[in-house]
């Protein structure tokens, strides 16, 4: 079975999603930051992504550290929202 069609429960959403969703549900359609954690038991997700992502995209994903704490994320989202409001 092609990995894109594999399905499992998403711990972030609380419902079933396919690998295809995880592959593009991150920022700017990048893979979700939890994609390695969630899929490594089902198939060799590292090798798969390494083969199908551009080297710099894979390197960015692999080097990604845990997301910043929630409060810091919120402050960043507030900043972004203010910028969008200023643009429009």
């Amino acid at each position: 079975m092609a990995p894109d069609a594999l399905a499992r429960r998403c711990p972030r959403l609380g419902g079933e999603v396919t690998f295809a969703y995880c592959r593009q549900s991150g920022e700017e359609k990048a893979p979700c930051f939890k994609i390695f954690d969630c899929w490594w038991e089902r198939f060799d997700v590292v090798a798969h992504l390494e083969s199908c992502l551009a080297p710099e995209v894979f390197a960015g994903l692999a080097a990604r550290r845990p997301p910043p704490n929630k409060v810091a994320s919120l402050v960043d989202l507030i900043r972004q929202a203010k910028e969008r409001a200023a643009e429009s």
Binding site: P11, R12, D37, V71, A72, L74
Partner: protein, 400 residues
């Protein structure tokens, strides 16, 4: 018939929340620029009375009467002896579980949704926005807002919006507005749709939309609400553990071990923090967060063998995880989820469904006030992974 549940009278509901920040020292969170975040930086999304709770170091915080009035719809929640489970395990242990499924939306989330809605109302806020994945938090907040006459707008990730129409119906039943995200209501949503009109959405986009709506309301009457991770969320959830302690008093018992499911951390914190206070005061008790194998924030995390940041041999892959524990043994997936305890008496909550455990709970783990061991029920083919430092058997192992 033997009664199985310990049920508190309505007037025995706890009247104060326990704030663990009075007993542990936490540095203020750092912002994206690396500097400490000040309360006013959060003012665009939270009312100041909730921000004050977020940073409060007062040990006991009064639960307002109008909040108690709503919580009393389903609280106090029963503490029930899991006799059939004990029998199935063949254990002499007494196993209790705290049933947090009694609330109208069916989860523990209203424990914080209700006070959050109340404090927004008191602050003069009229509208609350939020995001939701599968819809549990959106349902809870819709329910809570309906109790205080607030409007509630929930941005629900499109893929879940399509998968779970009944959750949307629940929100609507309580007067909430449930919108598939990305939507055309926000610039963040419109941008996402422009990039891909058929996008199934993501939690990141939904959060951006909810925050944008709150920040962009020039009347100042809209705020955003979050159902996990933050300190004030944990605070509100401590009503779970405080009730549980009263119920153990009635039972004439006290748990040796407390186990709570940990996802976003609020359920675990709510149950565990009041017992952590006892432990800080010298009581012998073991406290363990348990996480689903599906979202291992504590027992497994971003993998250093992939990131290349720390050297691990493939043999140990992926045992050494960011921010968690190391396991100096070959990795055995089946051995890394805490489960199947045989305590003399334990509290066994029922639900876990959030990612990324919250700050205080993670901090307690790092200070060994709550467990961090990967443990398994001993049996053929299994082995145990010791905690930090490796080597010895986990404390309390002999009782299992």
């Amino acid at each position: 018939m033997q009664p199985k549940s310990i049920i508190l009278a309505k007037d025995e509901i706890p009247r104060k929340w326990y704030n663990i920040l009075a007993d542990i020292k936490m540095n203020p969170p750092l912002g994206p620029d690396g500097n400490p975040i000040s309360p006013d930086m959060l003012a665009p999304v939270f009312p100041m009375n909730l921000i004050e709770q977020e940073v409060s170091s007062e040990r006991w915080i009064d639960i307002p009467e109008p909040v108690l009035d709503v919580l009393a719809i389903w609280r106090p929640a029963p503490l029930t002896r899991a006799t059939a489970f004990e029998k199935a395990l063949g254990t002499p242990a007494k196993i209790y579980y705290k049933n947090e499924g009694m609330s109208p939306p069916g989860s523990h989330k209203p424990n914080t949704a209700v006070p959050q809605a109340y404090y927004n109302k008191v602050f003069g806020i009229e509208n609350i926005t939020t995001e939701t994945g599968a819809g549990q938090w959106g349902s809870a907040l819709s329910f809570a807002c309906s109790q205080y006459g607030l409007t509630c707008k929930v941005f629900m990730v499109r893929i879940s919006f399509d998968q779970k129409p009944y959750r949307k119906a629940m929100m609507q039943a309580w007067g909430g507005t449930c919108i598939a995200s990305p939507s055309t209501e926000t610039k963040a949503g419109r941008d996402a749709l422009e990039r891909d009109p058929n996008t199934p959405g993501s939690l990141g986009i939904a959060i951006s939309e909810a925050v944008e709506q709150a920040v962009g309301d020039t009347t100042g009457k809209t705020r955003y609400s979050l159902g996990s991770v933050l300190n004030h969320v944990m605070l509100h959830q401590t009503i779970i553990g405080l009730e549980t302690k009263k119920q153990f008093d009635i039972a004439g018992d006290y748990p040796d071990i407390v186990i709570g499911c940990a996802g976003g951390g609020s359920n675990f914190a709510g149950l565990a923090f009041p017992f952590v206070l006892d432990k800080i005061n010298g009581r012998q008790i073991e406290i363990y967060p348990v996480e689903p194998k599906a979202c291992p924030s504590l027992t497994r995390a971003p993998l250093p063998t992939i990131t290349g940041i720390r050297p691990d041999t493939p043999r140990f892959y992926p045992c050494t995880a960011w921010g968690t524990i190391s396991c100096p043994r070959p990795f055995m997936p089946a051995a890394c989820v805490t489960t199947a305890w045989r305590p003399r008496s334990a509290n066994w909550p029922m639900k876990a469904d959030h990612p990324a455990i919250g700050g205080p709970a993670g901090l307690l783990q790092s200070r060994r006030l709550v467990g961090a061991d990967r443990r398994v029920h001993p049996g053929p083919g299994n082995h145990q992974c010791p905690g930090p430092g490796g080597g010895g058997s986990p404390k309390g192992q002999g009782r299992r």
